[in-house]
């Protein structure tokens, strides 16, 4: 019977099929519009209903059979292809071809992070000159000429009454003078200079000064801001402790300690067994500083804080020696 020979031919041909192209050609040969099965149905209309029905069923079953053969062959071909790809393998353990990767200085990274946190709290970045008039660096900050507080900061002089700024605090004065009236929240990042060099002091280092002036600012605002800053910068469970201190341009003034992240307050070498690490100085803006810049201290109050970036970076990254920041030794820079 003709249908039978089509079936066996299909079986044989599909089992020998070697490529996708061949498979497609076979599909057309058997199932195509002009394929052998379609040809079988031609002229079927002339048959009597009984025979026509029978032939139709037989052709359909042959069709299903061929379709199954196609699927089987497809699977076989795919497996074969996969095996070939596996043999075309590469050594994935060899090193990658890296594009050169640079780095940002750890000071930059630390400052960026602090400024970012502060910007969420509404502190805008400001800058000021690095060579300052005595007026901005000292006088306007409540440090008159013969004040003993000047001894706290050994100063580089450029000319009489002209200094390399010893702190970023003069930017407080400049910001307040630039403004018609409060409110204001600013953060100033920059280099500062002290006439001092040893294992723990560098003649140049970096500070971020923050200043907030508004109606009704209290020490609670300062404490809240600094607590948040320390928690975001170090860890959520950090606590801060304020100790009374003295800065000429703030009163009351405080040193801020944070709980030692290394020993969690139990005492270790990092915190000199106290459980606390000193990280910044702060206070409420002194009324005479406000007066100097034409802000009425009876109406407005404010707070200021100064952070030493080197110190914070040293704590965060475990850097033992401040001099490392300025050697710019690649073996150091690359680590950050």
């Amino acid at each position: 019977m003709q249908l039978e020979s089509i079936r066996s031919e299909a079986k044989l041909k599909f089992s020998k099929c070697k490529s996708r192209e061949e498979l497609e050609a076979l599909r057309v040969q058997f199932l195509g519009k002009k394929g052998s099965l379609a040809t079988m149905l031609k002229g079927m209309g002339a048959l009597e209903p009984e025979k026509r029905k029978k032939l139709g069923a037989e052709v359909n079953s042959a069709k299903s059979e061929v379709e199954a053969l196609i699927e089987k062959a497809k699977l076989k071909l795919a497996k074969k292809a996969e095996g070939k790809l596996l043999r075309e393998k590469i050594d994935i353990t060899l090193p990658g071809k890296n594009p050169a990767v640079g780095s940002l200085h750890p000071i930059t990274q630390t400052a960026n992070e602090i400024l970012e946190i502060l910007s969420h709290l509404g502190f805008d970045p400001v800058r000021g000159p690095e060579i300052e008039h005595d007026f901005y660096n000292f006088e306007a900050l409540n440090v008159p000429e013969d004040h003993p507080a000047r001894e706290m900061q050994d100063t580089f002089y450029i000319a009489p009454e002209v200094v390399l700024r010893t702190q970023t605090s003069p930017v407080q004065i400049r910001s307040m003078l630039a403004l018609e009236k409060p409110p204001m929240r600013v953060a100033c990042f920059g280099k500062v200079f002290r006439h001092d060099q040893d294992a723990t002091h560098s003649p140049m280092f970096h500070q971020i000064e923050i200043l907030c002036v508004d109606k009704g600012i209290s020490f609670a605002d300062l404490k809240g801001t600094l607590t948040l800053l320390v928690q975001r910068l170090f860890s959520q469970d950090s606590t801060v402790r304020l100790r009374p201190s003295f800065f000429p341009f703030t009163e009351p003034s405080a040193e801020v300690d944070m709980s030692c992240f290394s020993c969690k307050g139990k005492g270790c070498r990092l915190c000199k067994d106290t459980g606390w690490i000193e990280i910044l100085g702060c206070g409420l803006v002194h009324p005479s500083v406000l007066k100097t810049v034409g802000v009425d201290p009876e109406v407005y109050s404010g707070f200021a804080a100064g952070l030493g970036i080197e110190r914070i970076a040293m704590l965060r990254y475990g850097i033992p020696h401040i001099g490392l920041f300025y050697d710019n030794d690649l073996r150091f820079l690359k680590q950050f």
């Binding site: 780095s103 709290l121 970045p125 800058r127 507080a149 390399l164 910001s175 809240g224 009163e251 690359k334």
Partner: protein, 696 residues
Amino acid sequence: MHVSIQTLQKLVDIRNYSAEQIAEMLTMVGLEIESQKSFEDDTILEVSVTPNRSDALSHYGIARELAAILQTRAKFSTPTVKELGGSSHDVAQVKIEAKKACPRYACRVIEGVEIKDSPEWLQKKLTSLGLKPINNVVDVTNWVLFERGQPLHAFDLNKLAKPNGRVLIQVRHALEDEVLTTLDGEKRKLLPSDLVIADAEKALALAGVMGGQNSEVDTSTKNILLESAYFASTGIRKTAKRLQMSTDSSYRFERGTDPNGVILALDRAAGLIQEIAGGKIRRGPVDVYPHIIEPIEVSLRPARLAMLSALPKSEIEPVKLRALFLGLGIETAGRAGHEALKFRIPTYRPDITEEIDLIEEAIRMIGFKHVPAELTSHQSAKENIIDLTLEKLEKEIKSFLSHLGFHESINYVFGSLSEYQKFGFEDPIRLQNPLGEEFSALRQSLIPGLLSNIRLNQRHGAKKLALFETGVLFDSKNEQGSKPNSKSISMTNMAPDAYANETLSLAGVMQDEDFYKLKGVLESLFERLRPSVCFKVPTNLPSYYHPGQSAELLLNDESVGFIGYLHPSFKEHAKDCIFELNLDKIKPYCLKTVTMQPLPKFPGIERDLALIVDEDILGGDILEVVHAFEPIQKILEDVSIFDVYQGKGIDKGKKSIAISIALRDKKRTLKENEVQPIVDELTEKLCKKLGATIRG
């Protein structure tokens, strides 16, 4: 300053507290304990006293704080003196000429003392505080200073001039050219601004700073004149600073001593000298104190305290405040109106002069731990005083370069003058008091610092290193900024009233790298930042660049930087490539918000041309001709050089430059037959203008 726990124990009841607890208590009221060490059976604390707290520079001062913290009374004794013999006035008289510099001067006369080593207990006390015992009389003056905070000085009475049988002590300013050899053996040239203690003939001591050798107490001394005085802080500070002499005495006078504690300390010392060195104390101190300094009154509004401190009401009730202040020796002096309390400030607290000082005292004693932490409004300034572009620009540049393989350096802004001069910076701003020649001048370029970084890393074997730095450069202004006070201050980097010109600069160096690689980095950077900077043959090149292998960066015809190889005279860096860019100048043109251009709707046409030109014709010359060619301007999308060739097949002295021209009309499809005549005309123009021929 060092204090002994044993001594403190005699002044205030602290038996129930360990040294650690005492240290903690003091630290938490602002007297930070920096170290703690045992000395025999005693414990010595090192207290860091802030400059405002002159009252705390003694055992009495520290004991007073502890008493206030523990709400107990300090056991301070009033010394009594056994006087014998005639009046002091018969032997010594005092005349204060410099009344402003010395509001009070007192002294006592002790006759017949025996100078020898101090008893063991006193030697131990001094040694434990880090002082060197000298002899019994000098040791007593030193001890009383550490006990009560009042500096004292003993003169050998027999060494003083007695014109009429009596010593005349004068407190006066030094004479022009007056010279005094101080106890440290230094011959000091004095100025009329220095205050001296003198007899009728000569200066005896640098007042409040150090005694003189000519009146020194030594083993042969029999009679002494013991001084206790109150000197104004300003003068002492000036002298001590000018002569670079910081003594225990000057340290206290500079910060302010108690004018009304002068006699107590004098009597205490006289009694102690008599006890351990023998001798008779003459009757009565000589005490010249023309204008008594009275305690001042300062008022405090509890409402103001509540507002600034945010302390809970219960902590700052008037009753509590009064008790707290009383512990510090600050007595209530009634009320000032309805809203304010008035307090009398003892003269040993010269730091308390206004309300805010009392507010600080209150918070200090109550403790910051009672202040709540709050985050209220986050209101920034309404006016635009800030320069966000600069912040954004610097951040963008830094992250861009670091992603391209550059490492960020941070160098000192000061460097060696002679090094800077090698770079042609003849006259940088100099420091008046540098830490050394290597830190003596302010930088005018970031390159010297970056090159020193390259050398350091080279020694460690670094190859192909790329570094950059951003930072301020300093240049003298022609007119110096006047003393500021105006309100017209800008918060940009360059404040108009700044003393010097400060420019924010960016510089980079690529070690042993091709010029075009670095130029490519800058081109990408400019593509990102979007200022239209072009590279031109330099007209004003700094001397440290290679004159034939460097370019000047121009923006709107203004010079904004340079790029090139280092001048071969920098032998170690002959293969290094550098660039510098003035960020202040390019800033206004950077990071502008772009307006989106519609995507092209019609296809464009690309044409390549290979031209043969003389070898000194620049690629830029060709591009310039293309850009200037009027008929092409409306449809020119881009023109770029994609190949430069010299050698086989090209005549000597010539080179081949291949350019690619992209043309597009925004409104319609360009047709070949309309483009061809334009390109032909352009080719002709290039040949005519540059002497080019077409490479066939």
